[in-house]
């Protein structure tokens, strides 16, 4: 087990190194400079600025400097956001994004599992059709459309929740729903398909022959077996949501990281682009490892053997 984990961690680091390298050079290929009012600046001013930020050095030197800094946990200083260190910028903004992402994920997955199970148990009835139609709508309607509709009807007309901004829990409800509907629809579809398969299997027939109730069969036998394919889906989804949905954060004026990421790309804020990309990649790589571990917990057939020690 330990050997396996060490190997996995080594590959994770290798992956991150490759991501950093590719992103760095691709980013440098983007047109433009980090200076927003370049036309008004003299050549000398630009040169001074370049020297200050180390942009006058050859690209491979810049690359090595960046990698060196990253090894020490130094992600550089943002060009745009008041010259704050990127690590500080991320730290101050990741909280809102992460909270929203986790809430949306829990909302979507839990409700999706329930809806998908109900559809599967009542397959080929009107309940199933209703659930399928709802999940198609949920998957097809872009979340920003839903966000605006929620703002208009729930916040403005009914006044149940604040329209936008970031305060207490009540501020998170509408963006959570808007973000969570996608994973909800996807989960419902996945669980429905998986569970229909499982419900046709021999061990469900045996469970019926034991005299278990329909509810007992779904809860004790069908659900766990249908969850296996879902795990693959949930991991990457969670990272995407946690590292911020730029559109939703913009619509609800949430001080999250997605909003910042967009701005940094538009303004060639190299250290911020790199920082957020590395955060996203690290999250993804970690989640893939966690997914594999969760697989083992849900499905004993692929449980990691302890004999590898």
């Amino acid at each position: 087990m330990r050997k396996y984990l060490l190997k996995r961690v080594f590959y994770m680091i290798l992956t991150l190194f490759l991501v950093a390298t590719i992103t760095f050079f691709l980013m440098k290929l983007m047109p433009g400079t980090p200076y927003s009012n370049q036309q008004k600046m003299t050549a000398q001013q630009i040169q001074i600025m370049n020297e200050q930020y180390g942009l006058n050095k050859p690209m491979w030197v810049q690359y090595l400097i960046y990698l060196g800094g990253m090894l020490h946990g130094d992600l550089g200083v943002s060009f745009q956001f008041s010259n704050q260190p990127v690590s500080y910028l991320i730290a101050s903004r990741i909280g809102a994004s992460a909270q929203l992402g986790i809430q949306a994920m829990i909302f979507g997955v839990v409700l999706g599992i329930i809806i998908g199970s109900v559809a599967a148990v009542n397959r080929n009835t009107w309940v199933d059709t209703l659930c399928t139609v709802l999940s198609i709508i949920g998957k097809s309607v872009p979340n920003f459309v839903l966000a605006v509709l929620l703002q208009f009807y729930i916040a403005l007309k009914l006044g149940w929740f604040p329209i936008a901004d970031w305060g207490g829990f009540s501020y998170t409800v509408l963006p959570t729903i808007a973000l969570g509907v996608g994973p909800l629809a996807e989960t419902a579809r996945f669980i429905r398909t998986g569970m229909v398969d499982v419900l046709n299997s021999d061990y469900i027939e045996l469970a019926k022959a034991k005299g278990l109730t329909r509810y007992g069969i779904v809860w004790h036998h069908a659900l766990r077996n249908s969850l296996i394919p879902l795990v693959t889906l949930i991991g990457p989804y969670t990272v995407t949501l946690m590292t911020g949905s730029m559109v939703i954060e913009n619509i609800f004026s949430i001080p999250g990281i997605g909003e910042q990421f967009v701005k940094s790309i538009l303004t060639n804020d190299y250290p911020t682009i790199m920082g957020v990309t590395m955060l996203f990649s690290a999250g993804l790589v970690a989640v893939i490892l966690i997914t594999d571990v969760i697989y083992g917990i849900i499905d004993p057939r692929i449980r990691l053997s302890g004999s590898g020690d």
Binding site: E205, L206, A209, K210, G211, L212, T213, D299, P300, R301
Partner: protein, 347 residues
């Protein structure tokens, strides 16, 4: 006379399909006494499995019972609600399935899988149920049961898994055990072990067994009585000796003729295929494949003719007016053996 615990009378089951009504079970009657083993023999699609599923109340959604009764002691199973059936399944009537590789939940410890019926029906707590599950595992011959009770199905071989499936079925000491081709998916040496185990457990637990199979070789060692099914009907039934050594229905002849014996040099197959049950023949369903068929076979369904107190066959050949036919050599040889057996018993 032994206590009669199950009496199926004139059972009729239809399946609604897109092609039309499939008349899968057409007027089937049989009974089961306490402690005996009844084998139901027939080829694929003859209605063996459908019959047993109706005993469990586990028919598919598109199946409909259109007539008859299934009396379990003095209650009609067909009149029970789903809720009431849940209390019978696994407790009074239990079932062993065909394929042990797929009939266990891959994500649940086998201890829990064996304990489940106890928790459901006997309302014992988990600890006690696991203790009884352990007893059952020892009873069905799983070695190192104390350790293996925590294992998952994939850690067991096919034969061991079938032992576990048997343990699940027997954990509540059911009155009736339905075994639906329990050895078909196993290799021959394991088959023999499982059959031996079932016989042994039947005595210990005093259960009656309905044994579904298409393998007559398995029947000989297991059953007390045999019912031969064809195209949704029982065509002949009797004690195991009567069916094996004094068969009367041409279909039973065909089955026995296609079974290898020590003396057989060549195996005969039954020509043709079973009739389409969307539009079942009105006479004897075997008429199209029957080399001994008479005109009346195509027109009128034969009633059961009595051969002995325990032996009945539905073939017009037994009618007093029917011409005498010579059955296949193999059957003649078997009848000679039957005479010897009878003579031996008389002494």
């Amino acid at each position: 006379m032994a206590e009669r615990i199950l009496d199926v009378k004139n059972l009729k089951i239809d399946f609604h399909t897109y092609a039309g009504e499939v008349k899968a079970i057409r007027d089937v009657s049989f009974h089961l006494d306490k402690g005996e083993t009844l084998a139901i023999v027939g080829e694929s699609g003859s209605g063996k499995s459908v019959t047993t599923k109706s005993l469990m109340g586990l028919l598919a959604n598109n199946a409909e019972v259109t007539g008859g009764s299934i009396m379990f002691h003095d209650q009609d199973i067909l009149k029970k609600s789903e809720k009431e059936m849940q209390n019978i399944r696994g407790k009074d009537i239990a079932m062993i399935f065909q394929d042990p590789m797929t009939s266990l939940d891959p994500t649940m410890r086998i201890g829990q899988q064996i304990a489940e019926p106890l928790i459901k029906h006997k309302h014992v707590d988990k600890k006690k149920a696991w203790a009884q599950a352990l007893e059952l595992m020892k009873l069905v011959g799983i070695t190192d049961a104390e350790e293996r009770i925590k294992n998952y199905p994939h850690q067991f071989s096919g034969g061991q898994r079938q032992r576990i499936v048997i343990a699940i079925a027997l954990v509540c000491y059911p009155e009736i055990l339905i075994a639906d081709e329990p050895t078909t998916a196993l290799d021959v040496t394991i088959q023999a072990q499982i059959l031996e185990l079932m016989k042994e457990l039947q005595e210990k637990i005093e259960t009656s067994i309905i044994f579904i199979t298409h393998d007559l070789g398995v029947v000989a060692g297991m059953a007390d009585r045999v019912a031969v099914m064809y195209a949704g009907q029982i065509v002949e039934y009797g004690t195991v000796d009567e069916i094996f050594f004094n068969p009367q229905h041409p279909y039973t002849w065909g089955l026995l003729n296609s079974m290898p014996t020590l003396s057989s040099t060549k195996l005969e197959a039954i020509p043709g295929t079973p009739p389409d049950l969307l539009d079942p023949p009105k006479g004897d369903p075997f008429v199209a494949r029957n080399p001994y068929a008479m005109k009346i076979d195509a027109e009128q369904r034969p009633p059961f003719f009595k051969v002995s107190e325990t032996h009945y066959a539905a073939t017009w050949l037994l009618h007093p007016d029917a011409p005498k036919v010579t059955p296949p050599d193999e059957i003649i040889r078997r009848r000679q053996t039957f005479k010897d057996i009878m003579a031996h018993r008389a002494i």
